[in-house]
């Protein structure tokens, strides 16, 4: 087994894919921490679905499959989706979860409509467009990894630079407003960063599973600490490790898709954290409950049993 892993790491193509997936996991773990704390974690799901019509329209306009074009198309669609969700909640009595569901499925429906329209029109250049749905990390090339690396670095730099501001709007937006901070702008910026990372990740893990990379590492990290900067770091590490495990494992077994394995790896990290984390984990809670009970009995308290 170690030989196969060694051979995989030595293969330059695989190495690019590993680097790409790890960077993706790292940056989505970092951004995801803020989204989870702001209780907007499912917005990643809505944005990933909303990217589909953007990709299709970009293809219809340009006629070629170019990563740059798709990126811009998906970005525009994602930004429109965030506005849509905001409008629906602001101007009607529909709640945010339903608004997200409406935008998600409407955009996706339009996307499927356009995708099948393109496919049936018989343009030879479209083949493989549907790969964006499930993602295909194996198709990532060196140039894609460069783009992904650039985006991840940008994300991390922005998050470090604006860490205090993001922290404030995540925990107490009312106070931030009172201090005269541009809260609406910062919220929109955070959403924009999410859109960018989601769009960048779709190619690797696909539309449906992208949201897991935002949510699962962040929640797993939440179990280990109460401090935001540690949570962000741990979440990034969990994300990167999931990317590594996902790529290696799917490289060893034929026909095993990378995206789902990465998501499952993240879920395993979550399960381990939920079980074993100190203080917040399930076992620790069980232990402390037992301790308290014993202490109570030692003090001569009345047991219920």
């Amino acid at each position: 087994m170690w030989n196969t892993i060694g051979a995989l790491i030595l293969d330059p193509n695989v190495r690019w894919i590993i680097v790409g997936c790890m960077l993706l996991g790292l940056s989505s773990g970092v951004i995801g921490s803020f989204m989870v704390l702001r209780k907007q974690s499912l917005i990643g799901d809505a944005l990933a679905h909303a990217a589909l019509p953007g990709i299709c329209i970009a293809f219809m306009l340009s006629g070629v499959k170019s990563t740059g074009g798709f990126f811009i198309g998906a970005l525009v669609a994602g930004v429109l989706a965030t506005f849509g969700i905001r409008w629906i909640t602001q101007y009607s009595r529909i709640k945010q979860d339903a608004a997200m569901g409406i935008i998600l499925s409407f955009f996706f429906g339009v996307g499927v409509l356009l995708l099948t329209h393109i496919q049936h029109s018989g343009d030879g250049g479209q083949s493989g467009l549907d790969k964006y749905l499930f993602g295909q990390a194996a198709s990532m090339m060196q140039s894609d990894v460069y783009v992904l690396a650039g985006i991840s670095l940008l994300m991390i730099v922005i998050c470090v630079a604006l860490f205090r501001l993001f922290k404030l709007i995540s925990f107490d937006p009312g106070f931030a407003k009172g201090m005269g901070l541009p809260v609406a702008f910062l919220e929109q910026l955070l959403l924009l960063l999410t859109v960018i990372i989601v769009v960048a990740g779709i190619q690797a893990v696909g539309v449906v599973l992208m949201s897991a990379l935002l949510i699962t590492p962040a929640i797993a990290a939440r179990f280990w600490t109460d401090r935001l900067h540690i949570m962000v770091m741990v979440s990034g590490i969990f994300g990167a490790l999931s990317g590594l495990i996902g790529t290696l494992w799917s490289g060893m077994v034929s026909q095993l898709p990378t995206g789902p394995v990465t998501v499952l790896a993240a879920t395993v990290f979550f399960a381990i954290s939920a079980l074993c984390a100190p203080r917040r984990g399930w076992l620790a809670k069980l232990w402390s409950r037992k301790q308290t009970k014993e202490q109570w009995q030692r003090q001569g308290g009345i047991s219920h049993e």
Binding site: G44, D45, G101, G109, G111, A212, V263, T267
Partner: protein, 296 residues
């Protein structure tokens, strides 16, 4: 009978079933649980298919429905252990969906189940996939499956209308009245996963979500009464199915995609022009009240 008829009938049955359930999901603020269930039934479908080898079994329907319920149960469990609700939905449904995709990809050779088909469905093929009993052709299988799902939903809603209504609007009062709220919660969730399974072949997992949420939200903007809301929701769903079918025909594109698109456009119209809660009427009302304030 012609293919148009069967396709439209399937779509209408599906949107009626989804429209009825969607109203309760919207009212209980659980729209995204519907999303989660429709993704989470995928491994159930894959496992049942792997075990039985056919798509036609009742076993598959039951197995996948059970998995949908399991997802709801797990989400509830995570919430009770202190994880915020949106994140617990996200963790569970992506994990289950990932398992489903892995099972299908690993068994691509033995499984006659196309991933694209699972996600978007292929309603155009319903007429060829018929159900034969005692050698007699009984018509498309999807129609039977969706028809029985709709029948079960109608029956349960008719029997327990009051209970569902009270637990939708005021769960605390429902508990006080002695209604087993949790039982009705899981009953509703069971119906949602049953409908997702029954319609995954015709419209696919993701578009089921659209038909669960969009027509019900449209109806929610049009009325304040539950009975009317259910009616409007079903009506919007059926109208979107019919218009969607012909749009898809003209554009030569996916029928399921175009049905959801039409439903979304209808929602947009209701959003702007609804006589009760539309954007326009709100503006007018605002201006009028401003006018009277100035006049005074």
């Amino acid at each position: 009978m012609s293919s148009d008829f069967w396709i439209i009938l399937t779509a209408c049955l599906m949107s009626a079933a989804c429209g009825l359930l969607g109203c309760f999901l919207i009212l209980r603020k659980m729209a995204l649980i519907g999303d989660a269930i429709s993704h989470a039934v995928l491994p159930g479908i894959a496992i049942a298919f792997l075990l039985s080898g056919t798509r036609d079994s009742l076993a598959m329907m039951i197995g996948a429905t059970a998995l949908g319920l399991l997802a709801v149960f797990l989400i509830q469990w995570l919430q009770n252990s202190g994880i915020q609700s949106d994140a617990s939905i996200g963790i569970i449904f992506t994990a289950l969906f990932a398992i489903g995709v892995i099972i299908i990809s690993l068994n691509a050779r033995n499984i006659d189940l196309d991933l694209d088909c699972v996600l978007f469905g292929e309603i155009a093929y319903v007429q060829w996939d018929t159900w034969t009993a005692n050698g007699i052709d009984m018509g498309p299988r999807s129609v039977w499956m969706l028809g029985s799902a709709l029948l079960i939903i109608l029956l349960l809603l008719a029997l327990f209308y009051k209970q569902f209504k009270i637990s939708a609007f005021d769960p605390a009062m429902a508990v006080a009245c002695g209604i087993p709220v949790m039982l009705f919660h899981y009953l509703l969730m069971g119906m949602v996963s049953m409908t997702s399974v029954a319609s995954f072949e015709s419209v696919g997992a993701i578009l089921v979500v659209g038909m669960l949420i969009i027509p019900a939200s449209t109806a929610y903007l049009l009325t304040d009464r539950l009975g009317r809301m259910l009616m409007y929701s079903v009506l919007t769903g059926v109208v979107s199915s019919i218009i969607g079918y012909y749009t898809a025909y003209i554009l030569n594109a996916s029928i399921a995609g175009s049905i959801v698109t039409v439903a979304g456009i209808l929602f947009g119209i209701a959003f702007v022009f609804s006589p009760k809660h539309g954007v326009l009427i709100r503006r007018l009302r605002q201006r009028r009240s401003q006018g009277t304030a100035i006049a005074e």
